[in-house]
Subunit: 160 residues, 2 copies
DNA sequence: CTGAGCGTTCAAAGATCTCTGAAACTCGAC
DNA sequence: GTCGAGTTTCAGAGATCTTTGAACGCTCAG
């Protein structure tokens, strides 16, 4: 039978596994570990000290990871009542936010295509390649934003 | 006035700029440079030798990059008539393919959420966080595939 | 005002990843 | 079957990125 200890242990293992996947997908290893630790924590929030201990990393590393996660909207600093310690929490709708941030990337791709077209026109082999690229990223930029909104509505409705 | 040389030169600069962006987004630097070189080339295809020379990298590096790009569906090897040299070409709909590959990632995220729920259930702070995550990635997986198909149809229709 | 507790910063150590250069290999032409 | 252009592989060099550990600084309690 599962007691609370076992559950924590297994959750941490899952957290580490996901962190590994994410780090292979380009995210920094420590950043990913901090994020998944918060994601799979049974507590509402965790302090920097708890993250240090749980992940066996230095406070400097935690500080760095946290300050990389906050601007992306994945986690937030929670004002700690009656304590100077910072508490961190995985944000609601963090995944949707993360995906929404991709729009910046989509926009750069569109821009890159546009820049090339400005130089080479829309004719010829380059022109046609770039035209397709621009069309694709224009489409994605429009539709992705709509898609995420749609999820938010659907999810919020389901909660009520 | 733009002559052909200038155009090539400017295209190459744009290619490098995009490669830099992509490499910051997690792609390998050389891989990104090879990809953008093919993307912004005014030729239909390029040989490995041309890529070496144009990017000032060793043939080993080209080989590595190319073999990383091919499985993703971004570029393809083109049978060269009457030459042993390999010719490489940026594939049609490469961007759509690339985005479609993300589905694998979306699926792993869904799996990670499912695994956590199996351990901790859907109640409590972890359970609710994971439930939201699973809902989001399930939604995205379904909708992204549909979205890409929609683009393909729309684009192919526009070409006809 | 002073001290304790925490978070942040930064230089240096360390780990990781990538490129090069050369040797090995492949495959078509003759 | 042999030659040779061209590609792939791989060990070692090199560049890059990360983490640590310690010093610094900030904030609140007393």
């Amino acid at each position: 039978m599962h007691d609370a200890e076992d559950v924590d242990q297994e959750l941490r293992e899952h957290a580490e596994k996901l962190a590994l996947t994410l780090s292979q997908g380009g995210m920094q290893k420590t950043t990913a570990r901090v994020m998944t630790a918060l994601l799979f924590s049974r507590h509402e929030t965790m302090t920097a000290g708890e993250l240090c201990e749980s992940l066996r990393i230095s406070s400097g590393a935690v500080s760095g990871a946290v300050n990389q996660l906050i601007p992306t909207g994945m986690i937030e600093r929670v004002p700690a009542p009656g304590s100077r310690r910072d508490h961190y929490r995985f944000r609601k709708h963090a995944w949707a936010t993360l995906m929404g941030n991709q729009n910046t990337l989509l926009a750069s791709m569109w821009d890159a295509a546009a820049g090339g077209i400005k130089i080479a026109g829309r004719e010829g082999v380059v022109g046609l390649r770039l035209d397709e690229m621009q069309d694709f990223y224009g489409f994605m930029q429009r539709e992705m934003a709509a898609l995420i909104d749609r999820w938010r509505e659907q999810y919020d409705a389901g909660q009520a």
